[in-house]
Each structure stands twice: as structure tokens, then as C-alpha cells.
């Protein structure tokens, strides 16, 4: 940068006495804007650091190696399968699984085998150095087992394969992920075709009159309505009026479709409007009909924009919780749904539930869940950018 020197007025025909203070206020303005940028970056970094530092431990889970006895008696009363001193360090949920283990491998019957058993949440928290509630006796036992290599932190597959559970170490995101997928499939199945078709009608067919202007204003307003109102609408229409099953991905998907529709319509219209009119003129000038011009020449050009808008709408629907709480998708769902009419929950609703649990372990599960959700959302947005770049026609 060239150094300014406005001090001397001698031999300087460009001297302007007002410039000094004007440049100074310009610099001050730059500082303000830069400070705001730094602030927002700092918030983002803090948020990411907090989530990642809280969430990463949840991807590991403590296991303890204990001798397990399999026989008629222990299958009936699984608490007898392990030595009494281990009862507090092994997960209750794992003990309940013992009959299933025998079913899967009948040769276990009548034997006593050393098994890597899922550890209790307090043991897990103790090993990770978090707040824990363990009696001194149990703590000594764990320390002793650790010295013998009988305690290990392993990759937490349960987090991805299990549904929700009231036993923290046994709770996973699986049913919420499946629920989210079902819900979003329903959302896209309804919102995408209806939204794109509406946009095509408004942009390519409708005249610009009072009626279409009213519709346009209302669609733009709908995109900004608090999402919980869509939940109430979904409750009133889909559950109360149509009698569709409560808490189901079908109702959730339809409700989110209502919410996503305006976003898809607005972005599709913008994409269609960006197609140069000369393309349409060229088509009509050749004696082509409306559908030939729209489908074969206008839509391919608008497609990247429509796709981007839809994926962003999808990402927004994915992170939505409020309307789904209203229609009951906040239920306790231990098993993943297999159809869209069964009760289900979605990822953000699952996180909401966990965040309200008293056990400490749910804190890290919540943070880990946020990490999974963020990863999916960022991937969706990256996909949107990739598709836009790929299908973009050079103009």
C-alpha cells in the first residue's frame, strides 16, 4: 500500500484537509467489520471444540472381561451368571442378553467362559475421567482389573446399532437414524414433485395477475413461518382429520413436506427465472409446444438450481424438531421402525430426549449425536454443491 501523506500542503496540489479524518473513519469501519467476523469465527470454533471434545469419548465404550457361567439357572436369573462382585461393573442390559447369547451359540451351555461384557455407565465414565458414582470397593475392583488388562475401551458399535434405551450404555442412535431416513423419504416424495410442479406452473404458465401475486406473497411468507405451526397443522390435518398413525414417519414426513414445500417452490422459481428467456423464444419460434420447451430446454438449465434448493430444504427438514414433537415423534423408541406407519423418532428429537436425561453418560451421547447429525448435514450440503457444479451448463 502506498503511504499517504496529507500533512504538507506545500507543493501538493492534491492536498485535501478533510481527507485525514475521512480515511480514519474508513479504517474504523474496517475494524468493526473485521471484529464481527472474528467474533463469529470464535463462536463457531468454540461450538465445534465443545461438541467434539464432549462427543468423541462417546465413540468409545468400556468393556470388562468377566467369567460368565451359562446354565439353566443363570439363564432364568441372569444376575447369577457372574460373580456377585462384578454385578455393579457389568451393564444390566448386557446381562439380560445372556439367554440370547445361548440361543445364538448353544455350545456355551454348561460352561463358564471369560467374556468381554459391556461395562456399566459409571465404570465407563470413571475410565474416561468424567464425573462418576462408584463405591470405593468397585473402584478398587476396576483398578485391579485394569492392571490385569481386563478392562478396555473399545469402539462403540452399540451407539450405531442400538435404539434408545433407559440404560445409558445401551442407548444408540440407530432407531433415530432409520426414523430420520423414513421421514425424509416421505418428505421428498411429496415435497419435491409438488414443489417443482408448482414452481413450473407459477413461472411458466400462470399470468402475472392479482391471484398469482397473492399466492406468491403467501408462499414467501410460508417459508418464514415458525416451524412449530406446521406441527400443529400436521396434527390437525394428518392425525385428527385423516386419522393417520401418530408418531409415524408418514405423518412426520408429510408435516415436514408442508414445511419444505415453500423453500422448494421459492428456490425452483428462482432457478426457472434465471433461465434466459431467449431459450423459450427460440423454442416457440420453432413451433414447439409448451411442454417441449419447458421439459427439454428450460428444465435442464434450471435443474442444478432446483436440486440445490431441494437439498437445502431437505437438510433443513432433517434438523427440524419442533413440528415433530407436536405430532409425537419424540416417543421412546428402542427398536427401529420397519414401516413408515410404525412409531418412530428422528435424530434431532432423539438428541432432545437425551439432553433431558439425568445420567451423565447421555451428555456425551448427545454431543456425539450432534456430531453425526452435523456430518450428515454437511455431507448433504456438499452434495448440493457437487451436483450444482456437475450439472451446471456452461453459458
Amino acid at each position: 500500500m502506498i503511504k499517504r501523506n496529507n500533512k504538507s500542503k506545500e507543493n501538493n496540489p492534491f492536498y485535501d484537509p478533510t481527507l485525514k479524518s475521512r480515511h480514519r473513519s474508513s479504517k474504523r469501519f474496517k475494524k468493526f467489520t473485521l471484529t464481527s467476523l472474528i467474533f463469529s469465527i470464535a463462536f463457531l470454533v468454540f461450538f465445534l471444540y465443545d461438541i467434539i471434545s464432549k462427543g468423541t469419548p462417546a465413540f468409545e465404550q468400556a468393556y470388562v472381561s468377566v467369567p460368565v457361567t451359562y446354565n439353566e439357572k443363570t439363564i432364568k436369573n441372569t444376575r447369577k451368571a457372574i460373580d456377585r462382585k462384578y454385578l455393579r461393573v457389568v451393564s444390566r442390559a448386557w446381562l439380560r442378553e445372556i439367554p440370547r447369547q445361548v440361543k445364538e451359540d448353544p455350545s456355551l451351555m454348561g460352561k463358564t467362559v471369560n467374556k468381554w461384557a459391556l461395562a456399566d455407565d459409571q465404570v465407563d465414565q470413571y475410565l474416561k475421567g468424567h464425573y462418576y458414582k462408584l463405591k470405593r470397593k468397585d473402584r478398587a475392583l476396576i483398578d485391579d482389573m485394569k492392571a490385569h488388562g481386563a478392562v478396555e475401551l473399545k469402539f462403540n458399535t452399540i451407539f450405531f446399532t442400538n435404539g434408545d434405551s433407559k440404560i445409558p450404555e445401551f442407548a444408540g442412535l440407530n432407531s433415530a437414524i432409520i426414523g430420520s431416513i423414513f421421514t425424509l423419504i416421505i418428505t421428498m416424495l411429496f415435497a419435491f414433485p409438488i414443489g417443482v410442479m408448482t414452481a413450473i406452473y407459477l413461472e411458466e404458465f400462470a399470468d402475472d395477475n392479482k391471484f398469482t401475486q397473492t399466492i406468491e406473497v403467501n408462499i414467501n411468507n410460508l417459508a418464514a413461518i415458525p416451524s412449530i405451526l406446521f406441527g400443529l397443522l400436521g396434527l390437525a390435518i394428518f392425525i385428527n382429520l385423516f386419522g393417520l398413525p401418530r408418531s409415524s414417519p408418514l405423518v412426520g414426513g408429510l408435516t415436514l413436506a408442508l414445511m419444505t414445500l415453500p423453500i422448494i417452490i421459492v428456490s425452483s422459481r428462482a432457478a426457472l427465472r434465471a433461465v434466459p428467456d431467449s431459450i423459450r423464444q427460440a423454442g416457440y419460434g420453432l413451433g414447439l409446444t409448451k411442454i417441449e420447451v419447458t421439459r427439454d430446454h428450460v428444465l435442464p438449465l434450471a435443474f442444478p438450481g432446483i436440486l440445490t434448493g431441494s437439498i437445502i430444504g431437505l437438510a433443513q427438514a432433517m434438523g427440524e424438531t419442533a413440528p415433530l414433537i407436536i405430532i409425537g415423534m419424540i416417543a421412546f423408541i428402542p427398536d427401529a421402525p420397519s414401516t413408515v406407519t410404525q412409531a418412530a423418532t428422528v435424530m434431532p428429537a432423539q438428541l432432545f430426549t437425551w439432553a433431558g436425561m439425568p445420567e451423565r453418560m447421555y451428555i456425551e451421547k448427545t454431543a456425539a449425536g450432534i456430531m453425526v447429525l452435523l456430518t450428515v448435514l454437511i455431507s448433504l450440503n456438499a452434495l448440493a454443491i457437487y451436483l450444482r457444479k456437475k450439472f451446471e451448463v456452461k453459458w
Binding site: 399470468d207 402475472d208 434466459p276 431467449s278 431459450i279 423464444q281 427460440a282 423454442g283 416457440y284 419460434g285 420453432l286 413451433g287 414447439l288 409446444t289 417441449e292 427439454d296 430446454h297 435442464p300 438449465l301 451448463v393 456452461k394 453459458w395
Partner: protein, 256 residues
């Protein structure tokens, strides 16, 4: 005016309104077969609007109201039983900005004939594409890259591609709306040569802002001013011996 030419388009008492605005006043003009007719006049005089009346492109604007008749082959194209889409098939149009479809050069030319059922995919279609591109004087430049996008060509080539696309549907009349105003002089020269070649087969109506162009290529010239047809005659007469003072003022560059 000589009478040995046969009339291709007979425009009678044509009036056009954009909403309340009366844009064309009582235009009556015979346009001749296998001739180039140039429409000249200052900006906003209605010459492009008039051109678009000839293939009913103005129907796309909902506020437009048209009154009068445009008779092609003894049939008024504004009759109720005439489909404007079939009018546009027989009256092709080339625009000011080259506007190839965002498709390959081949598809640009073959799309409309395939849709109109004039050819089937395969040998016939390939022949039609080649013939149209040859007629548009573009074949030698693009024969090796028919699958490349039409938009990859230069501006002048794109305009000739648009002409090839137009003649591929075998129209009888070609309307050109300032076809060279977005092009450089060399491309302009090529398009003008092409127009002179094309008039052997087609009747051409062109709008131009370039007086020299009208003088160079047009057989007939119509001068429009403020939505009215001021003078229409053989080009030579208009440029050498105009009968109206306004025409004279305009072509000598005193306004416009």
C-alpha cells in the same frame, strides 16, 4: 412497385395494443415471396412488434390484443381455427442474440424436426442435419464436432446454427429480428451472404437498425415510425427517392 412478384404474406389493417398502449396502427402491407423485406425505423417504432405478429409470437404476452388480418396462403393466421404452434413451424424466426439450446450442435438442429415428426431418428435425421448446416454455411466448420454443445461456438457461428435450426423445420418464411446486431463485421458479412442465398428458397423479413445492411440485402424496405407504416417500396426507391419527408430524414440520419 412491380406486380410480377407473388404476395406471400398479406397484412391488412393490423392493429396491436399492449394493454392500453396502441403500438401498431392500421398496418397494411403485402410482403413478397422469395424476397428480402427489411423493416427499418427508430427504436420503439414497432418494427419488432410487427415482425412478431407474423408468426404470432406476440401471443406469448398476455396483455397483447391484436386486430386485423395476416393472410398467408389465403388463410388468416389469426383465425380461431389456426393453431399458433403450426404457424410458427411454417414461419421460422431468428433472434437478435444467438440463442442455441444448451444441447449439442446436432440436437440443436434435429430437435424440432424430430418433434414435428418430419424425420425419424437415424439416416434421415443425419441427412437433414447435414443439409441444414450446409445451407446455413456452417457444415465445414462443425462437421467434426457435432456432439459438442452449441454454446461452444463463436457468436457468428451460433447465429448460423440458429439459422440452420430454423431451416431444418422447412419453413416458407423466415423472420429475422436484427440478426446481426450482436455480431462482428465479418460474421455480419457471412450472415448477409447467407440471407441472399436463402431468399432463393424462402421469403425473408428482417428487422435491422443498420441502414447499409437494408440497402445491401433487401429487395423491399418498410419504414416504420411511432407504430405507423410510413413508407413501403422497393429498397432502391426508399433510399434514392423516398416520397415521405420523414423517411428521407431517417435514412439520411437526421433522427433515429
Amino acid at each position: 412497385m412491380s406486380n410480377k412478384n407473388s404476395i406471400k404474406i398479406d397484412v391488412n389493417e393490423l392493429n396491436l395494443w399492449y394493454g392500453e398502449h396502441h403500438a401498431l396502427h392500421n398496418i397494411t402491407v403485402p410482403l413478397y415471396e422469395n424476397k428480402i423485406t427489411a423493416l427499418i425505423g427508430p427504436s420503439g417504432c414497432g418494427k419488432s412488434t410487427f415482425l412478431r405478429c407474423l408468426n404470432r409470437m406476440n401471443d406469448l404476452i398476455s396483455s397483447v390484443k391484436i386486430d386485423g388480418s395476416v393472410v398467408i396462403d389465403k388463410k388468416n393466421i389469426y383465425d380461431k381455427d389456426v393453431d399458433e404452434v403450426s404457424v410458427r413451424k411454417r414461419v421460422g424466426m431468428v433472434f437478435q442474440q444467438p440463442n442455441p439450446f444448451p444441447k449439442s450442435i446436432y440436437d440443436n438442429v434435429s430437435y424440432a424436426p424430430l418433434k414435428h415428426g418430419q424425420v425419424k431418428k437415424g439416416k434421415d435425421c443425419n441427412e437433414l442435419v447435414e443439409r441444414s448446416l450446409v445451407d446455413a454455411g456452417l457444415w465445414d466448420e462443425v462437421k467434426d464436432k457435432l456432439n459438442e454443445p452449441g454454446t461452444s461456438l463463436s457468436g457468428g457461428q451460433q447465429q448460423r446454427l440458429c439459422i440452420a435450426r430454423t431451416i431444418a423445420v422447412k419453413p416458407e418464411i423466415i423472420l429475422m429480428d436484427e440478426p446481426t446486431s450482436a455480431l462482428d463485421p465479418i460474421s455480419t458479412e457471412k450472415i448477409e451472404a447467407l440471407m441472399l442465398e436463402l431468399k432463393k428458397k424462402y421469403s425473408i423479413i428482417t428487422v435491422t437498425h443498420n441502414m447499409q445492411q437494408a440497402a445491401r440485402v433487401a429487395d423491399y424496405t418498410a419504414f416504420f415510425h411511432l407504430g405507423k407504416l410510413i413508407e413501403y417500396d422497393e429498397t432502391e426507391v426508399i433510399f434514392v427517392n423516398p416520397s415521405n419527408k420523414k423517411t428521407e430524414d431517417y435514412i439520411t440520419g437526421r433522427f433515429g
